[in-house]
Assembly symmetry: none
Homo-oligomer: 132 residues x 4
DNA sequence: GTGGTCTAGACCACG
DNA sequence: GTGGTCTAGACCACA
């Protein structure tokens, strides 16, 4: 695990799972949370690669997925920009939230838990976290 | 997606993700839910591989993980058996439930959701599912 | 997608594909449809670039292609003018129409469609459009 | 332009446009036309790369797009296979045919042609081709 | 054997 | 300067 800074953005990278997925996940998160605003430019492929000390192709791979997610757009010769459409971002978040929830419930059910158990369990965990 | 039968046990396999993980997940589930009872023998690597029409190495890989989970024990010359310790299984379930929940919450937070939002969201989904 | 005005001419620009091609395509269209008359002056590179808020090199690139198409002529010290030859424009339209049709048919055939299928398909689409 | 053979399949490659797009387009066509049957294995990345004398990464790029199109599926350790779903392939063909037609009509309209003119023009061309 | 990830470094089109 | 394509060659997980 390793922390690195790109402009005002902070990234952590961890060898042992695909680098491009880590970059992708963290960019998605930054955009979803609004840490990079609507229509804003994101770091160029080369800048990102240089700051994270990884290969430009690896960054590019992540950026192409971001675009497929509908979260970014390329502008020729200018760079890559977050979409200016709020609904695009909302759709993305809804889609991912549904996926995460679906697979969470499936995993828990496979352990033999009932929907009620799962709900109680999560409620308890969230309350504990809330008190921290 | 493809359904296959091994003795009284039913498996589904899907070529889009690691086979050994699928076998592992389904064995874990069968044990956690008691479909294979405490101390019961599980199918041999060869039998499993033959019935599922997959490579024995793949089954072996899954079985090794099961043993590492503390869910099974090998008995020389007799085969592999589910542990007879209830607490062993309980620990396993608790550990996995905690892991799943942890990573679910992390994913949802990365989408910019608050703990409250997540709780409400899950409550809603569970209610919908309950009505089906 | 973005709409911009140059004199009486209206342009739309979209950052997802080469800017110079968009300018070129729209100038071609304006000339082919007679929106800019025979022998008329077209906006200077500088004016165009300024109004469209794009780089003059980009406009220049498009204008060079226009001239290669035989649709415009440069007059020293006066600017660029649409050709006054009707046949010149007609040749251009015929050439382009043939090219478009050729590559359309090729693409459709590559999908495994027969000439008959293609004709029926296009007939249907055109009828639908006609009714709007 | 260069003709190369991969197993029973024939490919032509042409430097001057992206190699991976050429491989992609030709694989799409082979699948759409049924030259590679439902559920059949397509050449491995390495085999294709070797026969076409291009880099495996380039072939991989094309194959990933094929999978995104829903035309193929990977099976771990076994290779890449054409989908066995006829409807998947049909959807793909319909989608692409609509795209091609849409952009063809747009291009022709930009030349100042009416829908009627376009229809007549295409009818004429198709008849000529039919006589060959 | 299969596909997948990563690197280093080259060259191109676009603005 | 931007992103995009391509190569050569390494190493990994999976079956």
């Amino acid at each position: 695990m390793d922390k690195r800074q790109v402009g005002t953005l902070s990234f952590s990278i961890d060898f042992g799972q695909p680098l491009y997925e880590q970059v992708l996940a963290q960019m998605r998160s930054l955009i979803a949370k609004g840490a990079i605003g609507l229509g804003e430019k994101i770091p160029s492929v080369r800048e990102m690669a240089h700051e994270l000390r990884i290969n430009p192709n690896t960054v590019m791979h992540a950026y192409q997925e971001l675009e497929r997610d509908g979260l970014t757009e390329k502008r020729r010769g200018q760079g890559t920009f977050v979409t200016s459409s709020v609904t695009q971002i909302k759709h993305f978040k809804d889609r991912l939230a549904a996926e995460y929830t679906e697979s969470f419930l499936e995993n828990m059910c496979n352990l033999g838990l009932e929907l009620n158990d799962i709900h109680n369990f999560l409620t308890k965990i969230i309350q504990e976290k809330g008190h921290r």
